[in-house]
């Protein structure tokens, strides 16, 4: 019963990841794609948490932290690139 409900939750999460993929492919503008990739990262975090309950291990919690940090860094660098055209600023005029 418990594991069956967890498998149903994994199915829901994969449906929502597929919707995010549809938005990544079709999305009319570039920020749409970045937003959908961020949502996919967060759904993958939830999926890893459910997998760690199903496999009954604590070894995957590092991966949760890691995916969260990587997704945040990717999103902020993409949005800075979209807004200004560069990511790392070089100061030339003092």
């Amino acid at each position: 019963m418990f594991e069956g409900i967890l498998l149903i939750c994994l199915f829901f999460l994969s449906v929502s990841i597929l919707v995010g993929l549809y938005r990544v492919i079709k999305g009319p503008s570039m920020p749409d794609r970045v937003m959908a990739l961020d949502t996919i990262g967060i759904n993958i975090i939830a999926g890893v948490a459910i997998f760690s309950i199903l496999l009954n291990t604590q070894d995957y919690f590092d991966i949760i932290l890691l995916i969260g940090i990587l997704s945040f860094i990717g999103t902020i660098s993409f949005s800075k690139f979209i807004e200004r055209g560069y990511i790392i600023e070089y100061k030339r005029d003092y």
């Binding site: 418990f2 409900i5 967890l6 149903i8 939750c9 829901f12 999460l13 449906v15 929502s16 919707v19 995010g20 549809y22 938005r23 009319p28 503008s29 570039m30 920020p31 749409d32 970045v34 937003m35 959908a36 961020d38 949502t39 967060i42 759904n43 975090i45 939830a46 948490a49 459910i50 760690s52 309950i53 009954n56 604590q58 919690f61 590092d62 949760i64 932290l65 969260g68 940090i69 997704s71 945040f72 999103t75 902020i76 949005s79 800075k80 979209i82 807004e83």
Partner: protein
Amino acid sequence: MSISVIIKIIVTVLILTGTVLSILSAYGILRLPDVYTRTHAATKSTTLGVLCTLLGTFLYFWYTQGMVSIRLILGIFFVFITAPVAGHLICRAAYRSGVKLAPESIQDDLKELVDQEQNEKRKSDGQNN
């Protein structure tokens, strides 16, 4: 009802709530007309959904293995801090790079401020050159 069954029911309800919120946000991403409304749907409900799922996982491992996982608390805290900031940055980048609002929207208060700021920037660039 024993305590283990109660814990399992609480964990199941939390995780199911989290995934249902996540799939509601997927429906919003699919159906809403605009990048701003889509970011609204994606950021808020997905964040709450993943917080519910991680909280259920935390309670499950706290009960079954008797161990408070600091990594999971850090993960909850980090997602709770960073997901709204990421949504704000995406919306700001979309507005500054000129993505149009949906045709149904009737008022745009930010437009005057951004136009004024860009005019001043152009003027100061002209003076420097």
